[in-house]
């Protein structure tokens, strides 16, 4: 199939917009990240953990819980919000994991 290419920049922009708008059903959208903050945040590694008995948490606080090789850890969502905290690089049950929110 021969496709005619519009020469005018506005037409090209319009064509691209149409292509995006008519992306194939079932395909994830094109990767087009938007820069919100112009630099990456420092990595969180080796963050402290406590025992269940020492945790200062209310019963109704939400946690992301994970078990690896029999070891359980809870990541309270109230400690994972905000761009400085959304990724915790961790080690659990002898595996390296990333808990993300």
């Amino acid at each position: 199939m021969k496709v005619s290419i519009p020469k005018h920049p506005l037409l090209i922009a319009f064509g691209l917009a149409m292509l995006c708008a008519t992306s194939v059903q079932g395909e994830p959208p094109e990767f087009a990240p938007r820069v919100v903050i112009p630099r990456a945040f420092p990595a969180i590694k080796d963050a402290p953990v406590s025992s269940a008995a020492d945790a200062d948490l209310a019963d109704n606080e939400l946690v992301l819980g994970v078990v690896v090789n029999g070891e359980a850890r809870a990541y309270p969502i109230n400690m994972l919000t905000g761009p400085k905290r959304e990724i915790i690089n961790d080690q659990l049950g002898e595996r390296r994991i990333a808990a993300t929110w």
Binding site: Q25, G26, E27, P28, P29, F31, A32, P33, R34, V35, V36, P38, R39, A40, F41, P42, A43, K45, A47, P48, V49, S50, S51, A52, A55, L57, A58, D59, N60, E61, L62, V63, L64, G65, V66, V67, V68, E71, A72, A74, Y75, P76, I77, N78, M79, L80, T81, G82, P83, R85, E86, I87, I88, N89, R95, R96, I97, A98, A99, T100
Partner: protein
């Protein structure tokens, strides 16, 4: 929660400062590749196309998690919010639990699970049990195969989770009585997500509906 390892190399992830589809874009420090948080896939850079192994996790409240895992440890950082409590799910129509694999996806929305909190389903040739606890809005997905056998579950009149052998199971997928006593179903890597975000990232997703 992802395994932070690809091609035999450990990765360290940071928040890139970018968003895609209003969702976190991660970057690994080792190769600077960019990763979609929701897809667990590298979208740009040396590792483009690589996928992180999703480790099964649960979104639940502290009381439930501690009861399931009394020996659990807990991340111990200062709070950045106080909003994420049970009441977070007061509008269940906005949330779902979903599973995705090789371009396919299936989702169980919380408002449907409120109507039917126990579902025998199947995704990607794996028979699944979906359990929903109304009080805590905890949604869990399990593989309902035990050895060679695929179990079919139902709720008893008193609301207990049972299979046809008469075994009774708790809501973390462990048989507490009957012939299967002591057996645990393998948790599957389901993700609790906003319905809208799930649709954006998995446009071909199917949705389960209560009878």
């Amino acid at each position: 929660v992802y395994a932070a390892r690809v091609k035999e190399a450990d990765l360290t992830f940071v928040v890139s400062g970018m968003l895609w589809q209003r969702s976190l874009v991660m970057q690994d420090l080792e190769t600077k590749s960019l990763w979609s948080h929701l897809l667990g896939q590298s979208m740009r850079g040396e590792l483009v196309g690589e996928t992180l192994e999703l480790i099964p996790s649960s979104m639940t409240d502290w009381k439930t998690w501690r009861a399931w895992h009394p020996k659990t440890t807990v991340l111990n950082l200062s709070r950045t919010s106080r909003n994420y409590r049970r009441e977070f799910y007061r509008d269940p129509a906005k949330f779902l639990v979903g599973v995705a694999s090789s371009g396919k996806a299936r989702a169980w929305s919380f408002d449907q699970l409120l109507k039917q909190p126990l579902v025998n389903d199947e995704f990607d040739d794996v028979p699944l049990l979906i359990l929903f606890d109304k009080e805590t809005a905890t949604a869990m997905a399990f593989d309902r195969r035990v050895g060679e056998e695929t179990l079919t579950f139902h709720q008893t009149e008193s609301g207990q989770i049972a299979d046809k052998s008469g075994s009774i199971w708790n809501d973390s997928g462990v048989a507490i009585s009957g012939p299967h006593k002591g057996t645990g179903l393998a948790p599957q890597a389901g993700v609790v997500s906003y319905v809208q975000a799930w649709r954006n990232f998995h446009p071909s997703t199917s949705f389960w509906k209560a009878d």
